[in-house]
Symmetry: C2
Subunit: 426 residues, 2 copies
């Protein structure tokens, strides 16, 4: 999320806007952010007779490509944030990194910012989040603010070395998370990071059974709607797959996860979409339990399946919620939907992406491919594939396993132009 | 479809374009037309990593609001059509009114126009369409080119007065169609219209049981995919409702209709989406039969239900087809989906449209409301509502009747801000 422009004086090309981009009388939604989440919010807004205004770092950014009203600027520049907010009925985000002091100022001027900084802080600062969750009784791992080497050594001893060190701010997709392998390594890591000015906390590592994601939406008026909980699969800290609904494994953790998300969204005063990323683990009595891993206050990768598997997608729901409009039906429209991420590979194949898409469609005519208009870079999220079991079929373990395999084959082909099962056509 | 600009020399604001509107390496799709069909094609294109370039008559036109690459101009102006086509991988349309001689010129220069004028002529000229359909054995009503008053008098006598007079070109939504009530009225009508230079044909009026619509897509490579046939309801010549799938009534006309659409799309060389509007009637032996009413070569009002009731919507399918990419799965995702049109009423209610939408959502959280960003005008198509039976339910006659009633209630509220059943909330 870098920008060509950080000067506080807008240049003549500061705004690619057309006042005519917004239907007369319709609410104007401003989105700070230019990535795929903003792009897909615009796609959802179009359906509702709206078009989003986006603050984009580059004219060719994912969301800027598909919007008529673009403010070209930097979310860390107060003037640029002001400019995108001007006259908007609501201001929302596709990331959590806008300085809260800007947002407080906007709110002071009467701008409708959703979610508000008082909620956003819990998605920005993991220590604040952990403390608040503990306060409201949500399950969290043992954790400690790390302000010295002694802190981490003490925590290391207390957890028998099961330590995860995290940056309080700015980490995502596996960045800002460290797993020291020894007491010595923990001490050196913390010494170095503190010296660099990184604020830290430590958490007890969890013995993971699997990861779940509970997504929920709340409007400023207090209406709450939750989606079925999904199972998510992470690789190197990045989401690669989501399965909806999360397959039952015994115990009632799935219902508990959905309830927990509904509690958190209300107790933290979140508006718009909230993703509660969870670890499913096993307690000392061998019973399944859930622990909150992370919170995200915006549409989330583990909710992309809703575009093709639910009555109301997370993007439509977020747009509706931040404008304080009634929320939509969150029921599934398929017995099972699997989302597989398309992450840039170590090299970009010679076959152009649109030909790769065509190959996938030829093999899987039901594959819903969503591309973000983004250039390839290794590991970069450039698209995702949703695949669903057809109407009238049953989500048996075999059918779900086949669907997951098909979605992975499709995503893998989009990345590397190779069928990982050796398929050579019918 | 009027324009502020018809001069052949482009003014400086001729193009609101950004080259950065298109993802690097992705195909560029140019759409001639700025209405809701182009708008919803853009919505579908976003999913595929694309963004459309549109030729719009006004900067605030429905599709121009939501596109970054807009050529402001007139589809009847050769320079403007050239400009939107420049460098595009395919040129397509949201209406059939671009002069074919422009399109032939573009094709001569190597531009990829889909559908091509050789197919489009059948959606432009009802006499050409009738003759071609008769030639390929498709069921058409008795018809005659009307070039004199004597012609219509003879046709009137031959059909015992069951005469419908039609303009060969330019009619849609009930315009360009007349039902003279007497031999004298038929003669006077034709005399007047011929004097005005309107080219005419006459058709035998059909005793209608109901209307059906069979929609199909064909790519330039020859791949064909059809959706389930729907029942459509017209009022004053304008589509107000579509029910998918068309309820069975005995006889095999529904299968026949789907087959017929597949034959027509191939025999006429249509590319992209084709809508075959059909009359279901009863033959002389009391058996149901179908007769072709009209053809449209683009996404069609009777296909809007596919956005929320099918794996692949007509907009996505059209975009894929005209770019000669593999077609998507056309299976339904709900037991039944009903589309109800939102047509501007005789007056616009005081309650703003977004509040009307909110009221509808409060009563029907599963209502999928699609608005076009268009100002109100009496009778104008400004949006539509899709409602589906939930997963796991059955499309019984009662359930379908209730769904149709709910969709009509929703659409009627969006028009007039009144619940036509007197509902006052729970």
């Amino acid at each position: 999320m870098t920008s060509d422009k950080t000067a506080s004086t807008p240049s003549p090309d500061f705004r690619f806007s057309r006042s005519s981009a917004h239907a007369p009388g319709a609410p104007v939604l401003a989105i700070v952010g230019d990535g795929q989440l903003a792009r897909m919010m615009q796609q959802a807004a179009i359906e509702l007779g709206l078009s989003a205004r986006v603050l984009a770092g580059r004219p060719d950014a994912s969301a800027a490509q598909v919007a008529a009203d673009v403010v070209l600027g930097d979310y860390r520049n107060r003037d640029h944030v002001d400019e995108v907010a001007k006259g908007a009925d609501a201001v929302t985000f596709d990331h959590e990194h806008v300085p809260n002091e800007y947002l407080d100022e906007l709110i002071g001027w009467g701008v409708n910012v959703q979610p508000q900084p008082t909620a956003l802080i819990h998605a920005q600062d993991k220590l604040v989040m952990r403390k608040k969750l503990r306060e409201i009784g949500a399950p969290v791992p043992p954790f400690l603010a790390i302000e010295s080497v002694a802190d981490v050594q003490g925590f290391y001893d207390a957890t028998n070395g099961a330590v995860c060190v995290k940056s309080r701010r700015g980490g995502y997709d596996g960045k800002g998370v460290w797993f020291p392998q020894s007491r010595q390594e923990a001490a050196e890591l913390v010494e170095r990071l503190l010296a660099e000015g990184v604020e830290l906390l430590a958490e007890k590592k969890v013995d993971l059974v699997r990861e779940l994601s509970a997504m929920v939406t709340r409007s400023p008026s207090g209406e709450v709607a939750s989606w079925p909980v999904v199972e998510s699969v992470q690789r190197d800290g990045i989401c690669v797959e989501a399965v909806a609904p999360a397959p039952a494994r015994g115990g009632d953790v799935i219902d508990a996860a959905e309830q927990l998300a509904r509690t958190i969204v209300a107790d933290l005063g979140v508006t718009g979409v909230l993703a509660v990323e969870l670890f499913e683990t096993v307690d000392e009595f061998g019973q399944p339990e859930i622990i909150v891993n992370e919170l995200a206050m915006r549409p989330h990768n583990t909710g992309h399946w809703t575009q093709d598997g639910c009555v109301t997608s997370q993007f439509e729901q977020h747009v509706r919620a931040v404008l304080d409009r009634p929320l939509g039906d969150t029921r599934m429209t398929a017995p099972c939907t699997v989302m597989a991420n398309v992450l840039g590979g170590s090299a970009d194949p010679e076959m152009p992406m649109h030909e790769r898409m065509d190959e996938v469609w030829r093999r899987f005519p039901g594959a819903k491919i969503h591309m973000y208009g983004k250039d390839w870079r290794p590991g970069r999220k450039i698209g995702h594939v949703n695949m669903s079991l057809p109407l009238g079929t049953s989500a048996t373990a075999e059918a779900v396993a086949k669907l997951r395999s098909d979605a992975q084959l499709a995503a893998t082909f989009l990345v590397g132009a190779i069928w990982s099962d050796g398929w050579r056509g019918e």
